[in-house]
């Protein structure tokens, strides 16, 4: 406006000071934002470019989008990548569903029933969830060796065993998140349903569960993401390569400097990260709420 509109000298100077004030207060934030976006995004742009590079080596990927080919993606079919995707989905979804069901049931009990030892159980859960399960991985490993001799499905190298280990944390980490949410649903609704002849299980499945859907989604997503990202337990429990999850398998691709397979790693990364990325960004508001309550990552 200032440059096109014919103005008098004083107002011109006024415009000028306004402009410099704008730069001082707001304008400089845009270049800074560009810098931050570059910082945040260049590794992601790089991995996308590397996944499309036909040479598939780390050395050949220094020029961004030097060549566009889908060879790396095709090469994924020759590896166990899709098996690992299947394993990760199976383990993650089972852990998520289990965590949601068990957490919700426990939160319902704590929120709706008054029973002896309720307060102390809640305190106990609160204390237990402070101790990360992964630190006890030596004991988990030894436990699964002994369990495997009795029940092979719960032994080392079993996906079921890994799911069970993940479910061990379901009660500790999720009950609180859900407990608060359950408390926000008025008790009077339960009482009305009870008078109408609903049993406690009908109230739980038919009335409460549909009402708490948002928190169920958050807990399910958090459980899935933590199973998806877990390395240490998956690594020691899943031995043979056809049972691996993505974290264990893709680590194997790049851990050895001599045989590192960057091309297929990049392609695999794009495929594995894209759904999580989209889901995360779409649900960011809920997840931040869940994080500040449970703080899982960070």
């Amino acid at each position: 406006m200032a440059t096109t509109a014919p103005t008098t000298g004083t107002s011109n100077r006024f415009q000028h000071t306004r402009r410099s004030r704008w730069w001082l207060e707001v304008g400089w934030k845009y270049p800074l934002a560009a810098l931050i976006i570059f910082y945040a995004a260049f590794p992601l742009v790089f991995v996308l470019s590397a996944s499309l590079d036909e040479r598939g080596s780390l050395a050949g990927t220094q020029r961004l989008f030097g060549s566009i080919s889908f060879e790396n993606y095709q090469n994924l079919n020759d590896t166990l990548f899709w098996t690992w995707v299947g394993n990760t989905l199976f383990i993650g979804l089972s852990a998520a569903i289990g965590a949601v069901l068990m957490g919700a049931a426990a939160a319902y009990a704590f929120s709706r029933f008054r029973f002896q030892g309720r307060r102390s159980s809640l305190t106990g859960l609160l204390i237990l969830q402070m101790f990360p399960q992964t630190v006890a991985f030596v004991a988990v490993f030894l436990l699964l060796i002994s369990l495997g001799e009795v029940i092979p499905a719960l032994g080392i190298n079993s996906k079921i065993a890994l799911i069970c280990v993940y479910l061990g944390t379901a009660l500790g980490s999720n009950t609180f998140l859900m407990y608060g949410f359950f408390n926000s649903i008025p008790q009077e609704m339960d009482e009305a349903a009870k008078i109408d002849g609903a049993s406690h299980s009908q109230i739980f499945w038919g009335m409460i569960m549909p009402l708490v859907r948002p928190v169920l989604a958050v807990v399910g997503l958090l459980a899935f993401v933590s199973a998806f990202g877990d390395f240490i337990l998956a690594r020691i429990i899943l031995v043979s390569s056809e049972n691996w999850t993505l974290a264990v398998g893709m680590y194997q691709w790049v851990s050895d400097q001599l045989t590192a397979r960057w091309g297929i790693f990049s392609a695999g990364t794009v495929i594995a990260a894209l759904p999580v990325l989209v889901l995360f960004l779409a649900l960011q508001r809920y997840i931040v709420g869940g994080l500040t309550a449970g703080s899982v990552k960070g």
């Binding site: 934002a33 988990v140 479910l167 240490i232 893709m250 790049v254 995360f280 960011q284």
Partner: protein, 534 residues
């Protein structure tokens, strides 16, 4: 409540009859419960039976208790809250509470390589290890036989076929032999072809490990094979004397007695390789502090663990806070888009981030050196201090978005009156931030910072995936390195992924981590005062 009520029919029932007259005892819910409980009981009973067979008494006891309580909870009318808590509770007890207690137990033993079985199993192992081919033992023509998963040996002696397995000593059966005396047909068993033995490595291993007792008497020895076509009699040179609690070598006459370290020591000073785990009290804890091999590296690892956790939280908190302060400004356009782009690293799976940066920081081919340092050969992950810096930098990239989100949320919920009052009182911008915004912000973010500290204290993924704990310390034989934090050190020492196993020491260090994390969490606990909510 009465039949005259004309209120709309309840959503769960039909008709206008009083609910007290309706029979609701056995609905679909009950049938579903019955089905689930049938499956649970079937699984539980089979677990109990196989625990009995495997002589795993602890598992047997635990399965019986868990199953009985499950049936009691779900078929009694009184245990209403437990009906909802029990499934999660079982997993919690077995996979979290028990593992923690078990960690404490293992920490007081010398469980590890050379001491990884009970005493009875160690004696069996010692007897097997001392087995030698009996001098002048005839060599029997052999056929490997199979019945389902069980494999056994069929041999022939003077045309008579005998079959045995690892459990059952040799016994006569009907069958036929060829010219060389090798059994060709054995009643009730399937003959495994030699070709199959050659092509199936796992099966070949199983065959060479198989020991078939010659008779019920252990002193008669057992049949073993090296190549799968002939068997010879092997006998242990050691003899177990249960009364005296000793093993005697019948060839050399050396008597081995058990010591309190879980090893058999001979009267000539030699030891047997097979050992068992014994209680060693607090030795693992003192070993970590006093053993020169361990104490120095572990001290460095501990210091770095604290430095890593504190610096990560501090740097990402400050960067996130700075971005939040700058961009919490209504005059900026496209705030939502900017915010989504800012938190991209957070939405990217952490383990892939670490692996990706590992490639980007590669000194020869990585783009960090090529793009930003003009192709200089900077060994980011190979130099101890640069590797530490790289880890902090990558973790900053990974976690500043979290703090950006948290601080933005906290800033938006701050009361605007206080800042306005300060403005009126003439406080400058810096003063406003230092005296009002920042202290208020800390109140809501401090518990999260403590939780984040506890998380990073055990952030195994980023360390292991980025540097593998390396570069290795050169002044010790312990497989630890400059960027190892306690949990990755525990991983290396425990040997669960290969290498020499020392579960005892690893568990002792786990206990140390538990204590630290517990103390830090207790701090957070007092801060948030979550208990007040109940």
């Amino acid at each position: 409540m009465s039949t005259e009520t004309t209120a709309p029919a309840p959503s769960t029932g039909k008709g206008t009859e009083s609910h007290s007259r309706r029979w609701t005892g056995l609905g679909w819910g009950f049938v579903a419960k019955l089905l689930v409980m049938m499956i649970v009981n079937a699984f539980g009973v089979s677990a109990i039976m196989s625990a009995w067979n495997a002589q795993a008494w602890v598992i047997l006891g635990a399965s019986i208790v868990l199953l009985v309580v499950a049936d009691w909870v779900y078929f009694s009318r009184r245990m209403l809250p437990l009906k909802y808590i029990y499934p999660g509770l079982v997993f919690l007890l077995v996979f979290q509470v028990f593992t923690m207690i078990y960690t404490a137990y293992v920490a007081t033993t010398n469980y590890g390589a050379g001491h990884n079985v009970s005493k009875a199993q160690a004696i069996d192992a010692a007897l097997i290890q001392a087995e030698r081919e009996v001098d002048g033992s005839p060599s029997y023509p052999l056929a490997v036989v199979r019945d389902g998963d069980t494999i056994g040996f069929a041999i022939s002696e003077d045309g008579v076929v005998e079959v045995g397995t690892s459990e059952e000593p040799l016994a006569e059966v009907d069958g036929s032999v060829d010219d060389s005396g090798r059994p060709t047909e054995v009643d009730g068993w399937e003959i495994v072809k030699v070709n199959e033995l050659l092509s199936d490595q796992a099966l070949a291993q199983e065959v060479t490990d198989l020991r078939v007792p010659v008779s019920d008497e252990a002193d008669d020895g057992s049949l073993r094979t090296r190549e799968g076509s002939t068997a010879k009699v092997y006998r242990s040179s050691l003899v177990w004397d249960e009364e005296a609690d000793t093993l005697t070598d019948v060839d050399s006459g050396v008597v081995y007695t058990p010591n309190d370290r879980g090893t058999f020591v001979g009267d000539d000073g030699s030891t047997l390789p097979a050992g068992w785990y014994v209680n060693v009290g607090f030795e693992n804890f003192t070993k970590a502090v006093t053993d020169p091999e361990y104490s120095k590296p572990l001290l460095k690892v501990t210091a770095w663990t604290f430095a890593f956790a504190i610096l990560t939280v501090a740097s990402s908190f400050l960067l996130g806070l700075f971005f939040a302060l700058v961009f919490n400004d209504d005059r900026i356009r496209g705030k939502k888009t900017l915010r989504t782009l800012f938190i991209l690293p957070y939405a990217f799976p952490a383990f892939l981030t670490a692996l990706l940066w590992r490639g980007m920081l590669n000194p020869e081919f990585g783009i960090i050196n090529k793009w930003f340092f003009f192709g200089a050969d900077i060994n980011w992950l190979g130099d101890p201090w640069l590797a530490r810096f790289s880890i902090l930098f990558v973790n900053l990239w990974l976690s500043y978005p979290y703090w950006f989100l948290v601080c933005t949320g906290a800033l938006q919920s701050l009361p605007s009156e206080t800042t306005e009052a300060a403005k009126i009182d003439g406080a400058g911008r810096w003063r406003q931030f230092r005296s009002i915004t920042f202290p208020l912000l800390l109140v809501s973010t401090a518990p999260l910072a403590i939780a984040s500290f506890a998380f990073n204290f055990n952030n195994f993924t980023i360390i292991y995936m980025l540097t593998n704990g390396g570069p290795r310390f050169e002044d010790t034989s312990v497989p630890l390195g400059s960027t190892d934090i306690l949990i990755s050190a525990i991983y290396q020492i425990s040997g669960v992924a290969g290498g020499r196993a020392d579960y005892g020491l690893a568990a002792a260090l786990s206990i140390v981590v538990f204590v630290v994390v517990g103390l830090v969490s207790a701090l957070a606990f007092r801060q948030t005062k979550k208990l007040e909510e109940f």
